[in-house]
C-alpha cells in the first residue's frame, strides 16, 4: 500500500520482538464492541489513478486567466515570482515541524525571523509575530489583544471592513467577552476601533483620524491593511495605530479558492507580550554563534493553558516563508512598482467604465488605489456575459451590504495588462 513501509514479514518480526502474536494483542485496550475491521471507503488507488481522479476534479473547475480577472474582495491575482514556489517547495522547509529544536531548525527560524522583520518594516510597527491563519482571524486576535489590554469589551468596527472578517470577529467575540459594534464614534467603553485601509470597497479611509479618535478615548486603533498598499500609503506605524493586521495573500500566494493564505499581526512595544502565536528572537550559542529561537513562549497556550488569551499553535509558517521570499524578491522598489501600476490601471479602468452609459462611480468623491466600487446597470446578466468571454468581472458587494445593491467592485493589478482592460471594455460594449 502506498506510503507504507513494513513488509508482511517485517510485521511478523516486529510482533515477535514485542512478544505478542498478533496485532489484536496490541489492541487489547479497545473494547471489542468498538472494534471495526475496515472503513466504509473505497479501496486505495494507484498514484496514477489517484492523480487522474484529482485532475478530473480540477478540470471540473473553470479557471479564469489572471489577466482577465477583475475581481478582488480580499483575494487578488498578482504576479508571483517563480522563486516563491521554488523556495516553499523545498522539503527541508515544508516537511519540518514548528521549530521546537532550534539547533536543527535554523532554516525555518531564520526565515520566520526575517518575515517578522519584513512585516515590522512594512507596517512600521515595532514587532510582528510569526503569522496567523488569515486576515480575518488576525482582526479577531487583535481585538482580543485590545480587550485584554484595555479591560474594555466593546470592539467598534468602522466603515467597510471585509464582511467576512467582521463575521469571524463576531464568532470569536462570543465567549471572549467582546461585543462587536459598527460605527466610528468610540466611547470610554471602546476597547478598540477596527478599520480597514483601503476598505473592502477599495476606498481610502481616514486612518489617521480614526486612530486619533480611538486614542482620544483611551481605545486602541487596529488597522487592517493591504500589504502591497503600504508601498504607497502611510503604514499604521506612521499614523500611530497600535496594532496592524492584514491578509498576506498578495505577497506571493496563489488564490487557491481562499486558502491557505497568511494573516499577519504587528504591534507597538507595549503590546508585545499580548501578541498571539509564535515569536522568534535572535539568540546565540556558547561559542557566540548567532541563532534563532522561539521565544516569549510563556504567553502561549502550552504554558498558560486556560489562562492563555489565544489558542493558536500551528500557524501559517510556510505561507509566511512565501511572503518573506516575495518581499525580498520585490524589495521596496518592486512593491512600489506593482502598487503604482495597479493604481494607474485601476484608475484608467475606472475612468473608462464610468464613461459607459448607465455606469457611475458609487462614491465619486472618495479616493481609491486599485479597487473601486461602481454602479453597473444589470450587474448579474452582465457578469454572466463577461464570464462567457472568459472574464471574471467585478464583485457584487450588495451580497453583504444591502445599501450597495447594484454596486460592483473592480480591481486591477499588474497582471491586468492594457489589452486585458481593452478586452473587458469590449466585452461590455458588445
Amino acid at each position: 500500500m502506498p506510503y507504507l513501509v513494513h513488509s508482511p514479514q517485517e510485521r511478523e518480526e516486529m510482533l515477535a520482538a514485542i512478544g505478542v502474536e498478533s496485532m489484536d494483542q496490541l489492541l487489547v485496550d479497545i473494547p471489542s464492541s468498538l472494534r471495526i475491521h475496515d472503513l466504509k471507503l473505497p479501496r486505495g488507488l494507484s498514484e496514477f489513478e489517484t492523480m487522474a481522479a484529482v485532475r478530473d476534479l480540477a478540470a471540473a473547475n473553470r479557471v479564469f486567466a489572471d489577466r482577465l480577472t477583475f475581481r478582488g474582495g480580499g483575494v487578488y491575482k498578482r504576479f508571483i515570482p517563480t522563486a516563491v514556489a521554488a523556495v516553499t517547495g523545498k522539503p527541508e522547509f515544508y516537511t519540518a515541524y514548528t521549530p521546537y529544536q532550534p539547533e536543527a531548525s535554523q532554516g525555518t527560524l531564520q526565515a520566520i525571523y526575517e518575515f517578522q522583520s519584513l512585516i515590522a518594516e512594512l507596517t512600521a510597527m515595532d514587532v510582528a509575530n510569526a503569522s496567523l491563519y488569515d486576515g480575518a482571524t488576525a482582526v479577531a486576535e487583535a481585538a482580543m489583544m485590545a480587550r485584554v489590554h484595555t479591560g474594555r469589551d466593546e470592539i467598534l468596527v468602522a466603515g467597510y471592513v471585509h464582511p467576512e472578517y467582521v463575521e469571524v470577529l463576531r464568532t470569536f467575540s462570543e465567549g471572549r467577552g467582546m461585543k462587536v459594534k459598527k460605527g466610528d464614534q468610540p466611547t470610554n467603553k471602546t476597547a478598540a476601533v477596527v478599520f480597514q485601509q483601503p476598505d473592502f470597497l477599495g476606498l481610502l479611509v481616514d486612518a489617521k483620524g480614526l486612530t486619533e479618535r480611538a486614542h482620544s478615548v483611551g481605545a486602541l486603533a487596529i488597522a487592517s491593511v493591504d500589504p502591497i498598499s503600504l508601498a504607497i500609503l502611510a503604514p499604521p506605524g506612521e499614523y500611530g495605530a497600535d496594532i496592524a493586521v492584514g491578509e498576506g495573500q498578495q505577497l506571493g500566494l496563489a488564490a487557491s479558492y481562499g486558502g491557505p493564505h497568511v494573516g499577519f499581526i504587528a504591534c507597538t512595544k507595549d503590546l508585545v507580550r499580548r501578541l498571539p502565536g509564535r515569536l522568534i528572537g535572535s539568540s546565540h550559542d556558547a561559542q557566540g554563534r548567532r541563532g534563532f529561537v522561539l521565544t516569549l513562549t510563556a504567553r502561549e497556550q502550552h504554558i498558560r493553558r486556560e489562562k492563555a488569551t489565544s489558542n493558536i499553535c500551528t500557524n501559517h509558517s510556510l505561507c509566511a516563508l512565501a511572503a518573506a521570499v516575495y518581499m525580498t524578491y520585490m524589495g521596496e522598489a518592486g512593491m512600489r512598482q506593482v502598487a503604482e501600476v495597479s493604481f494607474q490601471r485601476a484608475h484608467a479602468l475606472a475612468e473608462r467604465l464610468a464613461a459607459l452609459p448607465g455606469w457611475e462611480m458609487a462614491f465619486p468623491e472618495r479616493q481609491f488605489l486599485n479597487e473601486f466600487p461602481i454602479i453597473a446597470p444589470k450587474a448579474k446578466p452582465l457578469l454572466r456575459k463577461l464570464a462567457k468571454k472568459g472574464i471574471l468581472g467585478g464583485l457584487e458587494v450588495g451580497r453583504w451590504f444591502r445599501e450597495l445593491k447594484g454596486v460592483l467592485t473592480f480591481t486591477c493589478t499588474e497582471v491586468n495588462d492594457p489589452a486585458a482592460i481593452d478586452a473587458l471594455l469590449e466585452a461590455l460594449s458588445a
Binding site: 516537511t95 503604514p235 548567532r290 516569549l296
Partner: protein, 495 residues
C-alpha cells in the same frame, strides 16, 4: 555554518526586479493622493538579486532537519511521510487558480472535492457532518466548543464548565477558556488514564463538555471510554474528541462509536498534509447530527449532482475564518485518502501502533517507561532514570540531534516528569527504528560515562544550544526601554 540575514546581505545599489510598466495613461499615486495618506519613510526592505535570494534560502533550508531527510519522532505531531503527489495535486492550476468569489457553477470540482472529503472524514471518525473551515487543530477545538455552547444555549441550558484532563494538550484548556468556559481539570490515575472517580466528582449540570483525546497523550487507549461517555452524557454534557491522535486507530475503531459528539481532525497530522515548519494545516471538525445545525457556514451541500455553498443556516455559529478553509490542504488530504483507501488507512494505523510498540520495546531498560503497555501509536518515556547523572530529557533530545535524528517531544505531557514522547508513525522502516533505538542507547551510555560531553551536544549542527533565557531577558530589556535591540526583528543599526 550559519547564514547572514537577508537584511545583512542587502546591497544599497542593487537593482529592483524587472516588472511590467503600467501601459495606460493615468495619474500616479503621488499625483493624486494627498501627502498625509502617502508613506513618508520607505520601508527598509532588503535589496538583493534573484541569484542571491535563491542561494540565501537554499542555504537556510540546508540548516533544517525535516522528515524528508531525518526521522522526526515528535510525539503528538504524527510526522509521517508527506507524499509528493499531494503537492502536485494542490498545485494544479484548476485548484490553485480559483478565486474564492467565483460563481458556484464554475467551481463544481472544488466543491465536489470538499464534499467528498467531508464524506470520507465522516466515515473515518463516525460522525454525520464535518466542517472543513478551521485552519488548524486549535482552531477546530474552539470551533467545536462554540458549537457545543450554541447547542446547549439553543436548549436554554447555560452550562459554564468544560472538563479537561491534566494530560491534555495546552490548546484544549485554552480553546475552552476562549469560548467563555471555565476549565476544570480532571486527574489521570496512576495507570495514566483518566480517573473515573475524579471525573465523577467533577461532573455536574454545569459541565458543557469533556474534552478528551483517545489514545490520550500518553499513547494509552482510554479503556473505559464507553463508561466515560455514559457518565458524561448522563449529565447532559457532550463529549469532545481531540483528534491529534487519530492516527492510532483508523479502521480499528471510531470516535463517533465511542460516544464522542464532536471531533476535530488534524489533516496536517493524520492525513499527511505537510507541517510547513509550523503550518498551514487544517482542522476540520466532525459532529453528530444534533450539533450539525450549529456548524460554521457555509456548509457544502449536494443536490441533484450539483454542489452548493449553504449560507442559510440560522443556528450556525457563523464563520470561523474567511472563505472555505485551507482549501489547498484539503486537496492534499483528499489526494492522500484516495491513494490510501479504506484498506490503506486501516493498515496505516495498524502499522503505526506496531511501530510504536516495537520501538517502545527497544527502549525498555534504556529509558524509564512509567506506564504499562501496550501503547497505541506513540508512547511516553522518561529520562528520570538519568537524573543521578544530571542528564535531563533535554539532553537526550540534543544528543539525538547530534546523532542525525530529530528529537521526540519533550516535557509533554506535563504529568510525566522528564517526558520523552515518541511517535514513530507507520512510514518509518524497522531499520530506522532500530537505528534510533541504537542512538538512544548510545546516549544513555554516554550519560553514564561522560555526561559533560552530552551536555555539550549538539556539536556538529549549525549552532549549539542557544541561550534562550538570555534572549527572553534581552526582550524584556527592549520592552522596558533599557535596550534598543528589538531582538524579535532585524533593525538597521543606528549610525
Amino acid at each position: 555554518m550559519t547564514e547572514p540575514l537577508s537584511f545583512e546581505l542587502s546591497r544599497a545599489g542593487a537593482e529592483p526586479p524587472r516588472l511590467p510598466a503600467a501601459g495606460v495613461h493615468a495619474p500616479r499615486p503621488a499625483d493624486v493622493l494627498s501627502k498625509d495618506v502617502l508613506r513618508a519613510h520607505p520601508a527598509d526592505l532588503p535589496r538583493l538579486s534573484e541569484p542571491e535570494i535563491m542561494r540565501h534560502y537554499s542555504r537556510m533550508a540546508s540548516l533544517n532537519y525535516s522528515i524528508s531527510e531525518q526521522f522526526y519522532p515528535l510525539g503528538s505531531c504524527t510526522m509521517k511521510y508527506n507524499p509528493v503527489a499531494n503537492e502536485a495535486a494542490a498545485a494544479l492550476p484548476g485548484f490553485a487558480g480559483l478565486h474564492p468569489y467565483q460563481d458556484e457553477d464554475t467551481v463544481q470540482g472544488a466543491l465536489e472535492l470538499m464534499h467528498s472529503l467531508e464524506r470520507a472524514l465522516c466515515a473515518v471518525v463516525g460522525v454525520d457532518r464535518v466542517t472543513l473551515q478551521p485552519a488548524a487543530g486549535a482552531h477546530g477545538e474552539w470551533t467545536a466548543l462554540r458549537m457545543i455552547q450554541a447547542y446547549h444555549r439553543s436548549r436554554g441550558d447555560k452550562r459554564t464548565e468544560v472538563l479537561v484532563p491534566d494530560s491534555a494538550h495546552g490548546t484544549n484548556p485554552a480553546s475552552a477558556a476562549l469560548s467563555g468556559f471555565q476549565v476544570v481539570e480532571v486527574r489521570s490515575g496512576p495507570d495514566g488514564r483518566i480517573s473515573l472517580a475524579d471525573l465523577e466528582s467533577k461532573l455536574s449540570p454545569r459541565v458543557a463538555a469533556l474534552m478528551l483525546t483517545n489514545p490520550n497523550t500518553l499513547g494509552l487507549f482510554e479503556r473505559e471510554i464507553l463508561d466515560v461517555a455514559e457518565m458524561v452524557h448522563a449529565t447532559g454534557a457532550m463529549l469532545y474528541y481531540d483528534g491529534a491522535n487519530l492516527n492510532a486507530f483508523m479502521g480499528v475503531c471510531r470516535p463517533g462509536d465511542m460516544g464522542f459528539d464532536a471531533v476535530h481532525m488534524n489533516l496536517h497530522k493524520t492525513f499527511t498534509t505537510p507541517h510547513g515548519g509550523g503550518g498551514p494545516g487544517a482542522g476540520p471538525v466532525g459532529v453528530k447530527a444534533e450539533l450539525a445545525p450549529f456548524l460554521p457556514h457555509p456548509t457544502i451541500e449536494r443536490s441533484n449532482g450539483h454542489f452548493t455553498l449553504d449560507f442559510k443556516r440560522p443556528q450556525s455559529i457563523g464563520r470561523v475564518r474567511s472563505f472555505y478553509g485551507n482549501f489547498g490542504m484539503l486537496v492534499r488530504a483528499y489526494t492522500y485518502i484516495l491513494a490510501m483507501g479504506g484498506d490503506g488507512l486501516t493498515q496505516a494505523s495498524l502499522d503505526a501502533v506496531l511501530s510504536a510498540n516495537y520501538l517502545r520495546k527497544q527502549v525498555e531498560g534504556v529509558l524509564d517507561l512509567p506506564h504499562e503497555g501496550p501503547c497505541m501509536h506513540e508512547f511516553v518515556a522518561s529520562a528520570h532514570n538519568l537524573a543521578p547523572q544530571g542528564v535531563k530529557a533535554l539532553d537526550v533530545a540534543k544528543g539525538l540531534l547530534e546523532r542525525d535524528f530529530y528529537a521526540p517531544t519533550v516535557y509533554f505531557p506535563l504529568v510525566v516528569p522528564e517526558a520523552i514522547m515518541v511517535e514513530p508513525t507507520e512510514t518509518e522502516s524497522k531499520a530506522t527504528l532500530d537505528a534510533f533505538a541504537g542512538a538512544l542507547k548510545d546516549i544513555v551510555q554516554q550519560a553514564r560515562t561522560d555526561a559533560a560531553a552530552l551536555h555539550a551536544e549538539p556539536r556538529s549542527l549549525p549552532v549549539g544550544r542557544l541561550d534562550e533565557v538570555g534572549t527572553a531577558r534581552q526582550i524584556t530589556a527592549y520592552l522596558t526601554g533599557q535596550s534598543e535591540d528589538p531582538v524579535l526583528r532585524w533593525k538597521r543599526p543606528a549610525k
